[in-house]
């Protein structure tokens, strides 16, 4: 009941004209980022952090959160119309979405994606409302061993599911942790791997790394291939037939369930829920052989799971301070730019802000539903922009975004370096997401490991003596063992991030 009162207060803030405008602008910019190839949600959100710095914290985070879930929907449009996912999580939508478009049914595919995204987003946000306070109370009781064990679960999930090869995912994860070693050590204050540069004392800028890996790295890959402007088929009527609605209802419900529960797992990444949902729909269908020819369930399930995941993934951030994906890591950075620390204390020290952002998720999801379908022709026209123009604009935004965080040209060099790293990762078939996640999580992981060992005088058995940390570590090991089984292997085969 407390939660509902607090949510009502959140709506009072979220429905203020200025905050409505921020949500609206965020939905528009997010959809644009999702539509345009070569700008994923992580780089897109990071590019717009300077805007956040110029606004009041509540408005800024409302806008950035709207950009995040707007991008998730925007990616669908190019998947359906041009067989090109605007962002990675929409890749599976290409299969049946594009097949529908080729048979003149792009309209119903986009409509069910919007409706499914709305349902998934709203249910996940209601879930966030219900579990936020209980999870926060639980998290406040966590000691360093429990936090370390929870992060180990996230790391195990990343390793198991971020790539076809567990070794390659682990390589990326360990490289991210090593990059996180640069800077002042979190316990004793010793400078590590800083090469005497004062700019590195506070560590490598996460925003610069994200922009490099996801923004500049993607631009480099695209200019190498000389990406061509895309053309799109006719959209046709947006109305669903009665049969479409009947066929999609179960897929939307299952997609919501899958997206919500996978969103609670730290470190999973946004592609797994969509591919799992597609696999489930195909498995449950009486005509699995027709998947790939334009089955509406193949769009409804994954798109619902995608948005349910996107909203539910905010739960670990809000309650535990743990980002689940690179984009959420960027959002976490935006919280910090605005002087807010995500985690259990957010609901005690900044309750008005936290509940306003949660209420804005409901408002923003409703806006996306109303806004996006009528604007589809506008988004389609953007696909005709020549890539050199897009590359210039992306680079300008990246430079502004990176420079403005610390007012430092050094960070632009860091972005350049990680742009090369991101480009090399694609050539070497290494997943990028684990590197960003461990870069963000490693300082907390190291601090909690060291605090735990200080508590025990160096005895590792402290992790096994405490029931919760022992259970979580057992779960982490279980995940790694399960990753060898065929079920998960089938999912991860296509989940390259």
């Amino acid at each position: 009941m407390d939660s509902l009162w607090l949510l009502a207060g959140g709506f009072a803030t979220a429905l203020q004209p200025a905050n409505l405008a921020f949500a609206f602008a965020g939905c528009l910019m997010g959809t644009l980022i999702g539509v345009l190839p070569g700008i994923g949600p992580a780089a897109g959100t990071a590019m717009l952090i300077p805007l956040a710095g110029a606004l009041d914290p509540t408005g800024a985070i409302i806008m950035l959160a709207a950009i995040y879930y707007g991008a998730m929907y925007g990616g669908t449009i190019t998947s359906v119309l041009a067989n090109t996912p605007g962002e990675a999580a929409s890749a599976v939508t290409c299969i049946d979405g594009y097949a529908m478009a080729r048979t003149g049914r792009a309209g119903p595919a986009l409509a069910i994606a919007a409706i499914g995204s709305f349902v998934g987003g709203i249910v996940a946000t209601i879930g966030l409302v219900l579990v936020a306070l209980p999870l926060t109370r639980l998290a406040l009781g966590f000691g360093p061993p429990e936090v370390f064990a929870l992060l180990a679960v996230g790391l195990a999930m990343v390793t198991a599911l971020a790539s076809r090869s567990a070794i390659r995912a682990l390589v990326a994860a360990v490289l991210g942790m090593l990059v996180a070693q640069v800077g002042i050590d979190p316990v004793m204050g010793t400078a590590r791997f800083t090469f005497g540069r004062s700019e590195l004392y506070e560590g490598v800028s996460i925003i610069a790394v994200v922009m490099g890996l996801f923004g500049l790295g993607e631009v480099l890959s695209n200019v190498e291939r000389r990406a061509a402007p895309m053309s799109a088929p006719a959209i046709g009527s947006l109305w669903l037939t009665r049969r479409d609605a009947r066929d999609s209802a179960g897929a939307v419900a299952r997609g919501t369930f899958i997206g919500f529960f996978l969103g609670l797992v730290p470190g999973l990444g946004s592609m797994v829920p969509t591919f799992l949902s597609y696999a489930v729909e195909k498995k449950l269908s009486p005509t699995p052989e027709r998947f790939g020819t334009g089955m509406i369930q193949g769009v409804a399930g994954p798109e619902t799971a995608n948005n349910a995941y996107a909203n539910a993934a905010l739960i670990p951030l809000f309650t535990l301070g743990i980002p689940s994906s690179p984009t959420i890591a960027v959002l976490m950075g935006a919280f910090m730019v605005n002087g807010l620390v995500p985690g259990p204390t957010l609901f005690t020290e900044h309750a008005t802000f936290a509940w306003a952002v949660i209420a804005s998720l409901i408002v923003g999801n409703a806006m996306l539903l109303v806004l996006n379908l009528p604007l589809v022709p506008l988004w389609v026209s953007l696909l005709r922009i020549p890539y050199p123009v897009l590359a210039c604009v992306v680079v300008a935004f990246c430079v502004i975004g990176v420079y403005s965080v610390n007012n430092s040209a050094f960070d632009v060099w860091v972005m350049l370096l990680f742009g090369v790293v991101g480009y090399a990762f694609r050539k070497l078939d290494l997943p990028v997401a684990p590197m960003v996640l461990t870069l963000v999580l490693a300082p907390l992981m190291e601090r909690t490991l060291r605090q735990s060992l200080e508590m025990s005088g160096g005895d590792m058995s402290i992790f096994l003596e405490r029931p919760l940390s022992a259970s979580l570590l057992a779960a982490a090991i279980g995940v790694l063992v399960l990753s060898a089984l065929s079920f998960l292997r089938a999912v991860r085969a296509d989940s390259e991030v």
Binding site: V171, L175, D185, M188, L216, E224, A391, A396, V399
Partner: protein
């Protein structure tokens, strides 16, 4: 590039990175009277990376290395490599010049050069886009939104 060549290169690079971080970590305290020191975490991470590098190398040396895997990404051709280098050069120029001549002039030069290098020569497109990405972006972000960007010529 074959999968075997790719993995041999990757394995060697990982071993080199592990050696760099491991060597650095050896110069830091591993354990102190109150618990693990600053060298504890990087030392274990460097060891783990070295093991992963060795595993990657070993896999690449197996007789059927790469069998059943999708083909690796091709290395860029000469024209593709030139476009990538032009893009990197443009960003490096902005990083070098923005605090000396200002964000907008640096970005204007970089945009004009990039679009030329990427094959877009129509000045009716190139000029407005370059001006928007440089002076336009400065106007919106620095002047209107108060985002700190280095100013140079004429306050841009």
């Amino acid at each position: 590039m074959t999968a075997r060549a790719r993995d041999l290169g990757l394995g060697a690079a990982l071993l080199a990175i592990a050696a760099f971080f491991g060597h650095g970590a050896l110069g830091m305290r591993y354990f102190t009277s109150i618990g693990p020191g600053p060298g504890f975490f990087p030392r274990w991470l460097a060891l783990l990376l070295a093991l992963l590098g060795a595993a990657t190398l070993l896999r690449a040396l197996l007789p059927r290395a790469g069998a059943g895997e999708p083909p690796p990404e091709e290395l860029p051709g000469a024209a593709g490599a030139l476009r990538v280098l032009a893009m990197l050069g443009a960003v490096a120029f902005v990083a070098l010049a923005m605090e000396r001549i200002g964000f907008a002039p640096a970005m204007l030069v970089a945009s004009l050069a990039t679009m030329a290098a990427l094959g877009l020569r129509d000045m009716r497109v190139v000029l407005p886009v370059s001006l928007a990405a440089s002076f336009g972006a400065h106007l919106v972000f620095a002047r209107w939104l108060g985002v700190p960007l280095p100013a140079g010529w004429l306050g841009y």
